[in-house]
């Protein structure tokens, strides 16, 4: 019985994603343009460099990275900060305080429900793209690698939720929040490797990024699939994702607990 309300939240999320399926489809189309730009930029770079590897990537690895990162960033980056901040600002949390459902439980169930159809669609697109790239580049992505990739993608979807959820807590302290979210989501996209592989930032910054959770969102799953992350690094990475999920659960709990002390319950 206890789980039932979260199952309902999950279903609501799932239904809402079906309602706006066309929007998701169009947002995938908008991901095509950066893909094309990056494809041509890197093709020009490799043509004029005359070297086998640029930033440690072969041409094929780089093209695969570029194309897959664009699809995965559409799937993984949540953009749900505005909805939660709105709940905090305009008293939308009131009803969750008095109802026998935790806000965190409601949000994560509904988020996972929403992502289900996106996850399935993106996965099909990714697999088709991988198959096509394998064919044209004469590469071979093993079944095990695809399975591990799926696992890491699920973990990055959860991780992404937790990162957004903890960032949302800033809405308890800041009065004007929408600008803040524009900047944070841009930074997250850059630090997660959604725009360029992290190698372009040089060694020092890259080292810093390794201590942050963001590279597990896009950089890690993509490099898992294109074969750059191999052997024990695969399990280390998955463990890293799991550890960050646990850590962020604690962080979410702490910051929201502090934040709720400042909650005013305006409007509602």
């Amino acid at each position: 019985m206890r789980n039932n309300k979260y199952a309902v939240s999950f279903r609501i999320g799932f239904q809402s994603s079906l309602e706006y399926r066309f929007n998701f489809f169009l947002s995938l189309i908008s991901a095509v343009f950066p893909m094309i730009v990056h494809y041509y930029i890197w093709t020009a770079v490799y043509a004029s460099a005359g070297e086998q590897q640029v930033f440690g990537y072969t041409y094929h690895e780089m093209i695969m990275y570029t194309i897959l990162a664009a699809v995965i960033s559409k799937l993984v980056l949540t953009h749900m900060e505005y909805a939660i901040a709105e709940d905090i600002k305009s008293g939308g949390l009131n009803k969750y305080i008095i109802q026998p459902i935790t806000y965190f439980g409601f949000r994560i169930s509904s988020y996972l429900g929403q992502r289900l159809i996106h996850f399935a669609t993106s996965l099909i697109i990714i697999l088709v793209l991988t198959f096509a790239l394998n064919n044209s580049f004469n590469l071979h992505t093993s079944k095990e690698r695809i399975l591990v990739f799926c696992l890491s993608l699920i973990l990055s979807i959860i991780l992404s939720f937790l990162i957004s959820y903890s960032i949302c807590a800033f809405a308890f302290w800041l009065s004007e929040i929408s600008y803040f979210f524009v900047v944070t989501s841009l930074l997250i996209q850059i630090m997660s490797g959604g725009m360029f592989p992290l190698e372009i930032f040089g060694e020092k910054l890259q080292l810093l990024f390794r201590f942050l959770p963001f590279h597990y969102l896009i950089y890690f799953p993509v490099n898992l699939l294109n074969g750059r992350i191999d052997g024990p690094m695969v399990w280390q990475g998955l463990a890293g994702q799991a550890i960050w999920i646990l850590l962020l659960l604690v962080i979410c709990r702490l910051v929201w607990k502090q934040g709720m002390k400042r909650y005013l319950g305006l409007g509602g």
Binding site: I36, Y40, Y179
Partner: protein
């Protein structure tokens, strides 16, 4: 004579709109500063491309990274002009149509298209892009050893102005679609990603993409033709097209606008 009077009247109104917008932005100073801050963050993201170009020392069609920087600078400069002049206005057109606010604007004694296109002019937000873009163009200009003559500067500025007209024509399309469709956010998203895709010299693309981006959806003209002109690489049909395209597309947008108004249902909420 009539044309001159009308032109002066519209310019006067434009200055009034800018003044009015600045006054209202000063009322909310935090938002003004935050807007600059956000645009600076986006600028940093764009500068990542510059970093990649220089780190890899890529050459496009015989052009060095310094010359490529000129194209990227022009893109950033025009992004600033777009954000300052049009972005906020185009965003509101959808709102006017959906809420029926256009009714009131229609009765004002000024061209409706002019009013909705220029009513809100941003002064803070475009600053980082305009400054950074100009600096990049200047660095690229000097490094490419283009003679700094009055003729070159004038030609570059004229082509920037033509690019601004084309920017208007291309980026208003999603907003005009809102006369027919309620939700055009996806169309806007696509137009933004096409805009962002235009930050490199168009010679990196294959022939067909070049042709489509030049003659059908003329985004490549916006960023490429001004630098190409001063590099002495814009000749023949392209030079002619660079001058004619803004005029042709402006007329087409004017016709589309008239069609759009016919579809306006004045659905007041």
């Amino acid at each position: 004579m009539n044309v001159v009077i009308e032109l002066r009247r519209h310019l006067y109104l434009l200055v009034l709109f800018a003044k009015n917008s600045l006054l209202s932005q000063m009322e909310y100073r935090f938002n003004f500063v935050a807007g600059i801050f956000v645009e600076t963050a986006f600028l940093m993201a764009k500068l990542l491309y510059v970093s990649v170009v220089y780190q890899t020392n890529v050459h496009v069609d015989g052009m060095t990274p310094d010359t490529i920087l000129m194209f990227m600078g022009t893109h950033i400069l025009l992004t600033g002009l777009y954000m300052g002049l049009f972005y906020n206005n185009f965003l509101r057109i959808t709102e006017y149509v959906r809420t029926g606010m256009l009714d009131l604007m229609m009765v004002k004694p000024v061209s409706l298209q002019f009013l909705v296109s220029f009513r809100y002019i941003e002064t803070g937000m475009p600053l980082p892009n305009i400054v950074a873009g100009s600096v990049m163009v200047a660095i690229g200009w000097k490094a490419s050893e283009i003679p700094f003559t009055l003729f070159n500067l004038g030609a570059f500025l004229i082509f920037l102005a033509l690019a601004t007209i084309l920017t208007y024509c291309v980026m208003i399309i999603p907003a005009l679609l809102s006369f027919w469709f309620v939700n055009t956010s996806a169309a806007s998203e696509i137009s933004y990603s096409i805009w962002d895709a235009n930050n490199m010299p168009y010679m990196i693309y294959n022939k067909w993409i070049q042709r489509i981006g030049t003659f059908i959806i003329p985004v490549f003209i916006i960023t490429n033709y001004a630098p190409l002109l001063v590099l002495n690489r814009l000749r023949g049909i392209h030079l002619l097209w660079g001058i004619l395209a803004p005029l042709i597309f402006f007329i087409l947008i004017r016709l589309l606008w008239k069609q759009a108004l016919k579809a306006y249902s004045s659905s007041n909420l």
